[in-house]
Amino acid sequence: MRLRIRHTKRGKIRFTSHRDTARHWERAVRKVNAPLAYSSGFTPRPRMSFGLALPTGAESDAEYLDIELAEGADPDPGYWLEVFRDALPPGYEVTHVALRDAGSPSLQEDVVATTWLITLEGVSAAEIEDAVGRTLAAPVLELARERKGTASVDDVRPAILDLSPAPAGDDDPRPRLCATLATTGRGLRPLELVQVVFPALDAVDTAARLLRTHQWIERDGERREIIPAGATAARLPVGCA
């Protein structure tokens, strides 16, 4: 039986890496004694697979993973939602547990785009308005970047699917940028986006906080969320905000 889980990653714990998050989950399933399905082989590993890596330092309301449980495990997703709720370190909130359709593609293969809320430091709402307009109007946006030791200059304009100024959040007066970025092909990372939107500024200083709000898949030509967030809002534990 396969579970697909959606959770948040907020607060101080955002400084842990994607690999760390995988470790947190491995420990959590053992803590609650979940009957995992193990891979065969000399060193059996629990069958868990994780979605697109969240950059270290970024927060998220839309992280996903798949867990395969051994035969005979409780088939009620609601049961597992309750069980996992308290098993993870502070900063994680398990918001949804669903049964994964047999034969559906893996998270890594399926996701085509992600949406981000980027809190900006040192730029005014008017400057954001300007920069967004300029960015969207540009036919070509060249970005010099390096990955795995290879430098290249790419036109990243096609990867920006959506871009708009966003109002400040409840707990932070700073203005924000909302962006939907393609993840297929080379894609565009949120920090790289800030770099092309504000080429004169230091991207690390400017992008004070990164929050992934959605991960999108395509079905029948339409973009939809892997598991829609619905009305569930993430709570943040005191002390780890």
């Binding site: 400084f15 420990r27 330092g57 690390v204 002390g239």
Partner: protein, 664 residues
């Protein structure tokens, strides 16, 4: 709140591994500050990954936070990228639990287990906004405290730490808290710091360097004497009599990011009386005190359940010596018949650090290792029976070959063998014996698998205070390099043998600090000011910094490091006692030179090293006889007792006959 988090957060996007600085670990006890409480900041002067698993720090963190009059947090050395940013933006050293400034704590307590981190201590004190030299500190500054193995010769840091604590911390932290609490209650008035230190110097186990006068006679020390009549002439270590009374950590900390020992650790006993003469840990932690097997099992079960780990390490200085080891191992083995409650998870791996070198131990390791059999490590330490008698590591070649053959037969295919070089009386034939042993081990292994390989790890020997080798002149870097080269050359022709070695330059720097006196303090300060932090890390270590600093202070490396000491010499740590009589240590040193071994006093009559008789404590060992298998450190055949789960003992005879020439 006094949290610096808002100032720390922006730095974290710019540093490597930011998870080092966030705290929030699973299981970490939440500190509760209150005005009357004595606040401790427990510091480990190396990176978070290395410091977090430290059991001493975790234990004291819990014990202090359980007290009504104390609160404790933790901190680790920020990596160089972080400390540079912190200095640039005026962010002081902070705790990882609640991100408070280090300078806001009453006590800044360092756990020191190795000498090369001394420069990091100065760096962290400085980063805390506290003057590095004790004489410049006032009532507003935290007390800088040092504990851990290095406390048995804290003299190189005497001008930089206010207090050194000798021995085990469980009880003494309460005594120190009480004295500091009263001082705070009395108003922490101007000029009262000296009075506080004098009060602290009366607490057993507490050494206050500034309360002692060191007189010199030329280069030598004439005497170390207390400045006041109520300050003890000799400070004795603290020891908890019964480990069963201290089942800590009760709430083991599971870190959020990868650390060096990323598994549950349960301490099965403390102390070791194997009597290896090079080993400071074995000398200063006597006597042996075992934890009851039942408590070990409970701690394992609770720890695994709380942390979600699937691996537990049973820690001690020689875990196969634990009387309850078979009982505990059986209860962990899903196929065993220990009769205990089942473990919370199906797949638990047990690791046994500090493996004793014999077949019994390997059988045990095989029983608990689960599916993972990547490599096994043994520490014969010396390449010949002669040198192993000198260092009192009394394992025979039969022991080693039995262990190795057993390991290869049970599915391991990679062995690591630890050796020391630069040992007292060491001859080239002893050094070359290392390669013979390794070659024979590979040969044994090839009978079982073509992949059999042996890695020899060579460390340069640094004589340590409070050991029988404290009088020995350390080998020069040239001599160590020559010996390493001997081993490398000889191993060229040995198929399946790989040699790794520690940098002899670092060995020399360690030697300066290991047996240094107060004059070496200025050398450490110079190295630190010159940028020499993280000296255990290759990318930061430069011997020339140490050589230049020694020269600038007019000190001779030869005198401090390479010179043999005489019996009548006043050693810098003579006023600090681990309970071992100096007469005993000297006699043991003479026995070493005469190639006489000394048996383990757990199972043979007492030879009065001084610890048990002096402190009125005793071994706490559940079994009156040595565990089964191997020579048990006596060099004799002691095979008896419980069943030894080894399959290939019969085949071993012929295998060993074929390869052993002239073993004792």
């Amino acid at each position: 709140m006094n949290s610096l988090w808002a100032r720390i957060e922006p730095l974290l996007a710019r540093v490597q591994k930011p998870a080092r600085y966030i705290g929030c670990e699973d299981g970490a006890v939440v500190p509760r500050h209150a005005p009357g409480k004595v606040s401790w900041l427990l510091a480990y002067p190396d990176t978070y990954e290395i410091g977090l698993p430290n059991q001493g720090l975790q234990i004291l963190h819990e014990i202090l936070n359980e007290r009504d009059d104390a609160v404790a947090e933790r901190t680790y050395a920020p990596w160089s990228d972080m400390s540079a940013l912190m200095r640039q933006r005026g962010v002081p050293l902070f705790s990882v639990d609640t991100h408070r400034a280090a300078g806001d704590f009453d006590i800044l307590a360092f756990n020191l287990s190795a000498e090369l981190v001394y420069t990091n201590v100065l760096d962290m004190v400085d980063l805390a906004g506290v003057p590095v030299r004790t004489e410049e500190r006032t009532e507003e500054h935290p007390l800088v405290v040092l504990g851990g193995h290095c406390a048995f010769n804290p003299e190189p840091l005497a001008d930089y730490v206010d207090v050194a604590v000798l021995g085990e911390g469980e009880e003494v932290v309460g005594d120190i808290t009480a004295v500091v609490r009263d001082w705070k209650a009395s108003g922490r008035t101007q000029g009262s710091r000296v009075g506080l230190l004098r009060e602290l110097s009366k607490v057993p186990g507490v050494y206050v360097p500034s309360m002692y006068e060191v007189e010199y006679e030329g280069a030598a020390i004439r005497a170390v004497t207390p400045r006041y009549p109520d300050v003890p002439a000799v400070v004795h270590k603290r020891t908890v009599a019964d480990l069963g009374q201290w089942p800590y950590p009760k709430s083991p900390v599971a870190p959020l990011t990868e650390v060096v020992h990323d598994r549950l650790a349960v301490e099965v006993f403390r102390g070791c009386t194997r009597g290896c003469r090079f080993c400071q840990a074995g000398m200063i932690t006597r006597p042996v005190r075992e934890r009851p097997a039942e408590q070990v099992r409970t701690m394992i079960q609770n720890g695994l359940r709380r942390t979600g780990y699937d691996e537990v390490s049973l820690t001690s200085l020689s875990t196969a010596d634990f009387s309850g080891i078979e009982q505990v191992a059986a209860s962990l083995n899903p196929l065993g018949c220990g009769g205990s409650a089942p473990l919370p998870h199906e797949q638990v791996t047990v690791s046994l650090p500090s493996l004793r070198v014999d077949a019994f131990t390997v059988g045990l390791a095989g029983q608990v290792a689960g599916g993972r059999r990547s490599g096994l490590t043994f520490a014969p330490e010396g390449g010949s029976w002669r040198i192993r008698q000198v260092i009192n590591k009394l394992i025979t070649e039969d022991d080693l070959y039995g262990a190795v053959d057993s390991a290869f037969s049970q599915g391991w295919h990679r062995m690591k063998l630890y050796f020391l070089t630069g040992l007292p009386t060491e001859l080239d034939e002893d050094t070359l014996g290392i390669v013979d042993l390794a070659r024979n081990c590979v040969r044994l292994g090839r009978r079982h698998t073509n992949r059999a390989s042996v890695t020899v790890s060579l460390g340069g020997f640094v004589p340590k205070p409070q050991t029988p080798f404290q009088w020995f002149g350390q080998n020069t870097t040239d001599e160590l390099r020559r010996k390493i080269q001997l081993v490398r050359d000889a191993s060229q022709r040995a198929k399946g043998v790989t040699v790794k070695w520690h940098d002899p330059a670092a060995t020399m720097a360690e030697g300066i600090a290991s047996r240094g006196d107060r004059r070496v303090g200025r050398v450490i300060e110079r190295v630190w000011r010159d940028g020499g932090v993280f000296q255990e890390w290759n990318e930061f270590f430069r011997l020339s910094r140490w050589q230049e600093a020694m020269a600038a202070e007019g000190l001779s490396i030869d005198w401090y490091v390479h010179r043999h000491r005489t019996e009548d010499e006043v050693l810098p740590w003579d006023h600090l006692s681990a309970g071992l009589h100096k007469d005993f240590l000297w006699a043991d040193w003479q026995d070493a030179l005469a190639e006489h071994g000394l048996p383990d006093c757990r199972w043979t009559p007492c030879y009065d090293c001084g610890v048990c008789t002096g402190y009125g404590i005793e071994h706490v060992v559940a079994s009156p006889v040595a565990p089964a298998g191997g020579s048990q450190g006596t060099g004799q055949d002691l095979t008896r007792g419980g069943e030894v789960p080894v399959t290939l003992l019969t085949r071993r005879e012929s295998a060993v006959d074929a390869v052993v020439g002239g073993a004792s």
